[in-house]
């Protein structure tokens, strides 16, 4: 009983010190805040649907909604004020087929600029961009989390087995890792997506397959070299002398030490997976209807240029910023986790900041 409470106290202290380490990295804290905000957006979305948007699916549905502010233009022969007048030929091109001079042409504005009704404006199809951004968070989280878990589990398992068993097991696994590193993940996804999933790959399977490639490749390589350095430490010899089997050595003694670094791989895998998914969605190889990659494509397509003259900037930027901020925040969190996983470099970074004054004196 006493031993158990001592252990739990120790564990709590460890947690506290890890949290302090994480919090001392300002960028990581910013990243964590943004991740929490994105997670919060899942709740916000439900809340909006329950209150403000209730019963307004025809307007706010991210996939099928439609709303367009109407601009009344007078059809004229020669335009003097482009805000209130339109050329007859242009009105006819825009769908008012029997436009004559003097008629009033009620032109729906698609994409519409931001307004109080549509915070981020609407897209070329008249859908609410804010609603689309919120809806895009779900597939991003599914892809990210699946990829992260798969990468971490596969990477640390391979690393532990390689480091404990060495010999031909290690040789085979290393070659597999090298091979996985040669395969550009997004392209592989598209081949798989176009093939096995008939062009539509669900976020879950996308994340899983990305995780397999990243876990076999990058994560396994980084974790393996860390595992090899741990295998040289005295406590492993002690466990060996005490008669631990190799399986026990791998799972009971080595794996716990790999977990922090596996955490780093987890967060970096989210970055890669979300960007890759965005790309697949951009090429319409994604199963879900609304996601950030498809939004960016929508922003750039000829449809947007046709109706708006130029790019639908609000759609493009909303999608691009969402995907960039999402993956950047996970990357920043990975920096903080790295400080915990590799205390060596972290203590130095800390010392650098704490002994700032001393350092300057030494310099002058």
């Amino acid at each position: 009983m006493i031993a158990r409470s001592a252990r739990s106290q120790m564990r709590r202290r460890q947690w506290a010190s890890d949290a302090a380490t994480f919090m001392s990295n300002r960028l990581a804290v910013i990243g964590l805040i943004v991740v929490v905000l994105f997670a919060g957006s899942l709740v916000v979305r439900q809340a909006l649907w329950a209150t403000v948007w209730e019963g307004q699916a025809r307007i706010y549905d991210p996939a099928t909604g439609y709303d367009a502010p109407i601009l009344s233009l007078v059809v004229v022969e020669e335009v003097t004020d482009p805000d209130t007048e339109i050329l007859r030929g242009h009105a006819r091109l825009d769908g008012f087929l029997d436009a004559e001079v003097g008629d009033v042409f009620e032109k729906p504005i698609q994409p519409a600029p931001p307004s109080s009704k549509h915070w981020f404006g609407t897209d070329p199809f008249g859908r609410d961009v804010f609603s689309m951004v919120l809806a895009g968070a779900t597939p991003a989280f599914v892809v990210g989390i699946t990829a992260a878990v798969t990468t971490a589990v596969l990477g640390s398992l391979i690393a532990a087995v390689s480091a404990v068993f060495r010999g031909w097991v290690d040789a085979v696994l290393s070659k597999l890792s090298d091979t996985a590193l040669l395969l550009p993940a997004p392209l592989a996804m598209i081949i798989v997506g176009a093939g096995a999933f008939g062009g539509d790959i669900t976020p879950f399977w996308f994340g899983f397959l990305y995780g397999v490639i990243a876990g076999l490749g990058t994560a396994a390589i980084v974790l393996r070299s860390h595992a090899l350095s741990i295998m040289g430490r005295p406590f492993i010899d002690a466990a060996r002398v005490a008669g631990a089997s190799r399986t026990r050595l791998a799972f009971r003694h080595l794996l716990p030490h790999l977990l922090p670094l596996a955490g780093v791989s987890m967060f970096t895998a989210v970055v890669g997976a979300v960007v890759a998914h965005g790309f697949a969605a951009w090429l319409s190889f994604a199963d879900d209807l609304v996601n950030w990659g498809a939004m960016m494509f929508m922003g750039l397509t000829p449809i947007a240029r046709f109706s708006g003259g130029d790019i639908a900037w609000n759609v493009l930027l909303a999608g691009a910023l969402a995907i960039s901020l999402f993956s950047a925040s996970f990357y920043l969190v990975s920096l903080g986790v790295r400080d915990i996983a590799l205390p060596h470099s972290q203590s130095r970074a800390l010392r650098r900041h704490r002994h700032h004054g001393l350092d300057l004196r030494a310099r002058s």
Binding site: L183, I191, S225, F279, A320, S327, A328
Partner: protein
């Protein structure tokens, strides 16, 4: 060093074999239907076509045929009829040119910024630099490329700026017009790459020679200027100068995009690695000797940080290559590997997919070998243990 090289080459060959085998079966099993399924044919016609393409035979047999011809660099014919090797060679020209040019810019840029950021105590410099680098590193490649394209279009007048598809052999910018039947754009690109690489090699030798003979270090800026100037002179002398400049200009979207995409990671790794060395004993010694702060930073800390940067690049290469493939598919400038691969996937042209991906794999492996040799030359431990530096 020789035995190290030998081991690495052998390992690379094994990896390549596994990769190609996996790729072949992945592509052939996963892509639904086959080439003939996209035409409206009667059963007999389809069978006849399948037979003529050789895809009616068992997969193992096809694999064996493909592998034995690939061993002598014959990648077979695409289902469209053109030799895969020729198409890949032409497409590769754009990719290699852009990759080399972008790396030559982004590596020094990231390294230089990372060095400055690691040694800078002022938050107003370090925080924004790091934040922007993270944003660029995680940015979505097509959007980056799009913004770069907008920037370049606005910067240059439409008369100066033309994409490769808009290049008119009769009206090429500088130099005499060059008839298209003599040299296609990929051929010119390959020559440009060859000339530039030769100039780089010469510049490095010159740098080494000056150091050996006069015992003086040449500032990196001078070497860089020599490389750029030498390349321009080389292109000019080779007889297709006008085209070369125009093509380089047209590729600037891709080069700019790839630089923006890749410099961030180099910056971040350099920064982290240099902060790690700050409290190292050899830095203390260097300071105690009274070396100026600049020398401590550049010659002691930054050099030690070069190793982790290079080993990180080994892992990041596929990421950069993928980014490039995506960018290049987006813009179709010069139609490189990206357009080729996506076109092949759309057409279900399996020999072309496998051939193109295999060549990308070979390229990655080759670059990795170069990086590993560089690391081994810098760090004797690697040569002795023969293992990767983490």
């Amino acid at each position: 060093m020789i035995s190290f090289l030998g081991r690495r080459l052998l390992g690379g060959l094994i990896t390549l074999t596994i990769f190609i085998t996996a790729l072949f079966f992945l592509v052939n099993v996963l892509i639904p239907g086959d080439w003939t399924s996209q035409f409206i044919l009667t059963a007999e016609e389809r069978a006849a076509r399948q037979e003529s393409l050789g895809i009616d035979r068992p997969l193992i047999e096809q694999f064996w045929t493909w592998m034995s011809s690939a061993a002598v660099l014959d990648l077979g014919k695409s289902f469209g009829g053109s030799p895969v090797f020729d198409r890949v060679r032409d497409a590769m020209a754009t990719t290699v040119f852009v990759f080399v040019a972008a790396t030559v810019i982004s590596f020094p840029l990231g390294y230089w910024l990372g060095r400055a950021s690691a040694w800078n105590e002022r938050r107003w410099f370090t925080m924004p630099t790091t934040a922007i680098a993270v944003l660029m590193f995680t940015a979505f490649p097509p959007v980056i490329a799009f913004l770069v394209e907008r920037g370049i279009r606005n910067l240059l007048s439409p008369e100066t700026y033309r994409t490769t598809t808009q290049l008119d052999p009769e009206r090429w910018g500088f130099g005499p017009p060059f008839p298209e039947d003599v040299a296609t754009i990929p051929q010119i690109l390959w020559r440009m790459v060859a000339i530039s690489l030769f100039v780089f090699a010469v510049a490095l030798v010159v740098r080494w020679a000056i150091r050996a003979v006069f015992g003086r270090r040449v500032p990196p800026g001078v070497i860089a200027a020599m490389m750029v100037f030498g390349s321009l002179v080389g292109w000019r002398l080779s007889g297709f100068s006008g085209q070369a400049f125009d093509i380089a200009l047209a590729m600037s979207i891709l080069i700019g995009g790839l630089v923006v995409l890749s410099y961030g990671e180099i910056l971040l790794v350099t920064d982290a690695a240099m902060i790690d060395t700050r409290t190292e004993d050899f830095i203390l010694t260097a300071r105690a000797k009274g070396l100026p702060e600049r020398a401590v930073r550049d010659r002691h800390s930054a050099r030690a940080a070069l190793l982790p940067v290079l080993s990180r690049l080994v892992v990041s290469l596929p990421y950069f290559l993928t980014g490039l493939v995506i960018l290049e598919y987006m813009f179709g400038v010069g139609s490189g590997m990206g357009s080729l691969i996506f076109e092949a996937i759309n057409d279900q042209d399996t020999p072309l997919i496998v051939g193109a991906m295999a060549v990308v794999g070979v390229m990655t492996l080759g670059l990795r070998l170069v990086l590993e040799v560089a690391i081994a030359a810098l760090d004797p431990r690697v040569r002795l243990i023969g293992d990767r530096v983490p």
